[in-house]
């Protein structure tokens, strides 16, 4: 069997092993990778920068533990930024297993800044069927969520006085690991006109760039790189986003090498076939 045939028929388990080694390397050797900031992430950062002194931002935890590694760091950075500026947050989760995970983060970060539920933030919890929930929130947050996650009626939260729907918040940032992003664009932005930005996984990112150009999104935070950019803009030195970048870099480098190797083997085989 010629070398190129062996390479072209490489057992996928070798690929897994090589990639695993590439992912482990940054864990053993400390690596620093510089991150350049993009306009789409800067747009979100400067928008959230205006959420200060009591202004309201709607932050949606539309992901579950599976995409936590990519989406948690950016969510955390946004929460720090808002609470640091004395802005207020309304949060929800359109992902079934989002609420307990979101609650942990909210409890921790709100605790750091001494923020109180009902006064500085409201966590609405989860409701199934994202499209229906977003549509109902466009009417009034109380329609899908008469009680918050902690079973307190929204009408009893001082923060929710006079706050009914998306007209009363500055904008929505949805951290999304599934199809809720489409629902936010279709219903939140197109139907109710609320300014919308998304934080999405790296795999999903290319799907949402068109909405940036059509101005249906004012910003986009794509994957762990986006999270690292956001942390850099927010002066967070030891964030999970920045720490995750070396892992992403080595794994991408390996995939690129794989693509080069497979094509060298492919062309070698083709030229050998022509010679015959």
């Amino acid at each position: 069997m010629a070398w190129y045939d062996r390479l072209l028929a490489l057992d996928r388990r070798w690929i897994y092993v090589i990639l695993a080694i590439a992912v482990i390397i940054p864990a053993i050797f400390e690596m620093h990778v510089s991150v350049s900031t993009s306009t789409e992430v800067k747009a979100v950062h400067s928008f959230v920068g205006e959420i200060r002194d009591g202004k309201l931002l709607f932050l949606a935890f539309d992901y579950d533990p599976s995409t936590m590694a990519e989406l948690h760091p950016m969510t955390e950075a946004i929460m720090h930024q808002v609470f640091k500026q004395d802005g207020r947050l309304i949060m929800s989760s359109l992902s079934q297993f989002g609420p307990p995970m979101a609650n942990q983060l909210i409890t921790r970060i709100a605790g750091e800044y001494g923020k109180e539920s009902g006064k500085d933030f409201v966590f609405l919890g989860y409701k199934p069927y994202p499209a229906i929930t977003i549509l109902a929130m466009g009417t009034d947050f109380r329609v899908p969520f008469p009680l918050d996650y902690y079973n307190v009626p929204l009408d009893e939260s001082p923060m929710m006085e006079g706050v009914h729907n998306f007209d009363d918040v500055e904008g929505v940032v949805s951290m999304c690991g599934g199809n809720a992003a489409d629902m936010w664009i279709t219903y939140g932005n197109a139907k109710y006109g609320v300014p919308l930005a998304l934080g999405v996984t790296g795999v999903m990112a290319s799907d949402y760039y068109p909405y940036l150009q059509s101005k249906q999104l004012f910003g986009l935070i794509p994957g762990i790189k986006g999270a690292a950019e956001y942390e850099q803009l927010s002066d967070i030195k030891d964030g999970e986003g920045l720490r995750g970048i070396p892992y992403q870099t080595t794994s991408h480098a390996v995939v690129l090498i794989f693509i080069v190797v497979t094509n060298i083997a492919f062309f070698a085989k083709r030229s050998a076939a022509h010679r015959i």
Partner: protein, 405 residues
């Protein structure tokens, strides 16, 4: 009324503008009309800008508060000044405002900002100058909000729906009269029988995955169409068909689809209800279970038809590692590259929807497909004209025709 209880008794008309010196000429010609295309809880206010518009920072919109009829007659314009409430503020460059609020109560309390349907509301507007001074108020305008019965900004949607419906009827009639309607070959669909035959020859089961959408997604419904076709063939060949389902509602539909298909094939005795089963409504547990089924049951053919997200590649790669022939179809653009890379045949977007027409060649199903193509051609022509218009004439008339609602 409670909100005015402590108010001064001087009528508003006799006072200045809340004690500030009126240096700026006020805006004029204030009108309050029903806000179009709403449920009847919105008033559209328009006004002419202040003559010194370059000095205007913002316009402030005031109105008399709403109170339920049980609390007495509505307030009139000669109420004390403090009864007027500010409901909005817009930049000095704008000359309209929509006052909308459909909540009569806030918890236990009356919502004074509520805009009642068919009830009169009194408005006035003043300007705030750059130097902090205010203009006088405009004369009071009265508005009545009414519920609308037709959304005029959705005419474009209605038009395209009617156009498509009309063309559908035309092409169905045309096909029924014997007109020949050509559908281009779709490799993914023409190989379905071959893939089923392969599993039969190998004596192994077929796996059909309907995706992680809901029963209301068009792609899922199109997946049922292909499932029905596959189930009918497996009934004929007596090949086991496994359908692990993601959503309980989809389970009921899938069971019914497979059962009906087995009955239509004349083999209800071969139908095994336990082969169509619910697994989990969580993405990754579902993937783990389905991948386990592929490996343990050694399925020979895998179909992935419906809505897929990040699980697409996890499923397709696991199937590829077992050596199964794989067919996929989805309308989720982001997942199409993964399916193209890891499965043997992929139905891209609308090809999935075309399955029933393609497989049956029934005129009733092929006709609508033609209608769809005609509208697509019209959109293509319109897009090209719009491109030329924007490039050469630098206007946007065509794009405004199809602007979203």
């Amino acid at each position: 009324m409670a909100i005015c209880a402590s108010a001064q008794d001087q009528p508003a008309a006799q006072r200045g503008s809340l004690g500030f010196k009126a240096l700026l000429p006020p805006p004029s010609a204030l009108t309050a009309t029903d806000n179009p295309n709403d449920s009847g809880h919105g008033i559209l206010l328009t006004w002419e800008p202040s003559p010194h518009f370059d000095r205007v920072l913002t316009y402030e919109i005031f109105r008399l508060p709403w109170s339920p009829p049980s609390e007495g007659p509505p307030l009139t314009a000669d109420v004390p000044e403090s009864c007027w409430i500010q409901v909005g503020q817009v930049p000095g460059t704008e000359t309209d405002y929509v006052d909308a609020d459909d909540e009569p109560t806030l918890g236990q309390r009356v919502n004074p900002n509520f805009v009642p349907r068919n009830g009169e509301l009194l408005y006035r507007v003043r300007a705030l100058a750059n130097d902090g001074s205010y203009s006088a108020f405009t004369p009071v305008a009265v508005g009545v909000a009414r519920g609308d019965w037709f959304h005029t900004q959705r005419v474009n949607v209605l038009f395209i729906t009617l156009l498509l419906g009309g063309l559908m009827v035309y092409f169905i009639r045309s096909a029924q009269r014997g007109g020949k309607l050509f559908i281009r070959p779709i490799p993914g669909l023409s190989r379905i029988d071959e893939a089923i035959g392969r599993a039969t020859e190998m004596g192994r089961p077929i796996l059909f995955v309907l995706g992680t959408g809901t029963g209301g997604d068009i792609a899922t419904l199109a997946g049922y169409t292909i499932l029905a076709r596959v189930a009918r063939k497996t009934a004929e060949y007596q090949t086991p068909l496994l359908v692990p389902v993601y959503d309980p509602v989809m389970l009921v539909m899938a069971q019914e689809t497979v059962k009906e298909a087995y009955m239509a094939a004349g083999r209800p005795d071969v139908y095994q209800p336990q082969n169509v089963f619910y697994v989990s409504a969580m993405q990754f547990p579902y993937v783990a279970a389905v991948n386990g089924i592929m490996i343990r049951e050694k399925t020979a053919t895998n179909f992935y038809m419906g809505v897929f997200h990040a699980e697409s590649l996890l499923l397709a790669e696991a199937g590829s590692s077992t050596g199964a022939i794989q067919m996929s179809g989805t309308d989720q653009v982001a997942q199409i590259p993964f399916f193209v890379a890891a499965t043997d045949y992929t139905l891209i977007g609308e090809e999935l929807y075309a399955a029933s027409a393609y497989l049956s060649q029934d005129p009733k199903l092929v006709g609508p497909l033609k209608a769809q193509d005609m509208v697509k051609a019209a959109i293509l022509i319109l897009a090209t004209l719009g491109l030329l218009e924007a490039t050469i004439l630098r206007t946007g008339w065509i794009s405004s025709l199809i602007a979203p609602y």
